[in-house]
Homo-oligomer: 348 residues x 2
């Protein structure tokens, strides 16, 4: 295969930031081959109300008119049943739960789920999804590290599904064989997003390489194999969510790097190149155009005139993308695979 | 205990570099409470001959007159039986083996041991130690990553000990429970160095934190527990080798960081603070003044007038140490725990 044509892709997990950085990355969504993006709410302050989500959506639409943005709220103790209903009516699709302190801007994250049961009940009834960052905080005395934080989280997923069988739950950015097996074992209301970079990286790749450092961290080759396998078999409840998370270079190439891999500049090209590397290019459309929509029950019309055509033709990834930050300082963001070669590229 | 007095410490694994960086770090050996240092040979070019080792030793002695330096050669296919004998006569104590490509300046590292058997035989006969960097190279198709590279190496250690039972072999900078158990199970000619930072760090600590990134990487809490336990029980074949490995800040806070933790500025203070954190301060002298000498069979006289006294009194670790590099550029090296607090300090 030397050319593929698909609908525009759906990215069911993306960080589009605020201010100047939002201005830089949001227009890249469409140019990278993505037509629909489910947007994470971990801004400062986090998006916790429908009003904020609508306002944020308008900002994004101005920057990327050709993209359909699906909005989420950040789960906090302040979220009420009424707000859940209001959010649903306004078109918000999900509520994102972050364990406290596990990733970027997660200081407002949750510590236990049971206090949220009335909210989850309302979400189940009105059809909002629960988007889970599936890691528990590290606890060295109990043997919990970033390597098993996802596996140790899975019992929460199982219990939530048990207690709310009709609630749509997404285990976001799964990185382990254990997570894949767990999601497969659960019912049709449990889905799972997988990033492009976790189909490519393993633990060795983020050791001393902060641009590959993200949360959850990439795990073992056997875990990557499981992620690849579930994509390869076209399992309908697994779909692309890139978790693209831009951080300026000076916050990555430093003593304490921020977590995140920046994929948005070339989402479709990375995906095609990575899928091709393990013989799964024929699953691109299912993984990135069909499964997510079906899982979320989206009935959005697709712009059939907008398709994506890619050709097998090598191109180098940019070393960085410059921008003027909110404080007036010129900064840059380094994309995934900076300076390396993409095997596939979008043909204009 | 609020004060301890011991002999000067022995550091059985240290990188002292070349040029300006050597000039910066070598004088710190003595001021950090260390009186004897076994020096690694991975310079550019590597120290492969007795003549080079003697010349390097003289350079070091000029910079740190109060320190006894023990020299090692870098194992390469060029090392001859004659050179082994010559090295022994000149006072060289060991030959260091690096698996190819695993760490800093290890491009000349070895790929299999059997071609070296005549050299090992000569080393066994004349009493040179074999110092092993105990990791196999990552091989993702076979499931080998930096996390299990040490455990997967151990069968080499067992076989070498089997084939050369009188050869003194040191498994350097052990990081895993598997390594501790393996060394304990072997005979009296197999020893093991443990770094100070591996008694403190786990995998979480080097994720996105390049100043904690070293090879072998710090592993799980259970592995750290095993290292702590073997020190705590005072096992005679385990001793301190800091593997202090300075790299200028710009080579750590970058996209591809060099591997190494810089411990030399405060070796004794770090060690006391770390041992105290898990109730093993009473083992400081055994771990860092006695076990290593006994294992290597050293009959060096100790300068009994030079002792080390430390008091429990908090002090902050410097943010960096500046120096003018060989290219004339002002650079800095960041020490372990920069900006954090040491519980113990040397009293003048």
């Amino acid at each position: 295969m030397s050319s593929i044509t698909t609908p525009l892709l759906d990215d069911f997990h993306i960080h589009l930031r605020q201010g100047s950085l939002m201005g830089l990355v949001t227009p890249m969504v469409r140019s990278s081959g993505v037509g629909l993006a489910l947007v994470m709410p971990n801004l400062r302050p986090p998006i916790t109300t429908t009003a904020q989500a609508i306002s944020y959506k308008k900002d994004l639409e101005k920057l990327a008119p050709g993209v359909q943005f699906l909005m989420t709220l950040y789960l906090t103790p302040e979220l009420t049943v009424d707000e859940v209903k209001k959010a649903k009516e306004a078109g918000v699709v999900g509520v994102k739960s972050y364990p406290r302190g596990v990733t970027t801007n997660s200081d407002s994250g949750i510590e236990s789920y049971e206090t949220y049961y009335p909210v989850f009940k309302a979400m189940e009834e009105c059809g909002l999804a629960l988007n889970l960052h599936g890691e528990i905080p590290s606890d060295h005395a109990r043997g919990v590290t970033i390597l098993n934080a996802e596996e140790r989280f899975l019992h929460h997923l199982v219990k939530l599904h048990d207690d709310f069988p009709r609630l749509r739950i997404v285990l976001e950015h799964a990185t382990t064989e254990a997570a894949v097996e767990c999601v497969k074992s659960l019912g049709p209301t449990v889905g799972c997003s997988i990033t492009v970079h976790h189909l490519d990286l393993v633990v060795d790749d983020w050791a001393g390489q902060n641009h590959h450092f993200c949360k959850p961290v990439a795990k073992l080759p056997s875990d990557r194999d499981a992620l690849r396998q579930v994509v390869k078999e076209g399992h309908p409840r697994f779909f692309m969510g890139t978790d693209s998370a831009p951080h300026p270079r000076h916050t990555k190439e430093t003593a304490h790097a921020h977590a995140g891999v920046f994929v948005t500049p070339h989402t479709a090209e990375y995906l095609a190149s990575v899928l091709d590397s393990f013989g799964a290019l024929n699953q691109l459309s299912r993984f990135a155009c069909e499964n997510g929509r079906a899982f979320y029950g989206l009935t959005l019309e697709r712009d059939v005139s907008a398709t994506l055509t890619m050709k097998k033709h090598p191109r180098a990834v940019e070393e960085e993308f410059e921008f003027v930050d909110d404080d007036g300082v010129r900064r840059a963001v380094v994309p995934f695979w900076a300076g390396h070669t993409l095997a596939w590229q979008i043909s204009e």
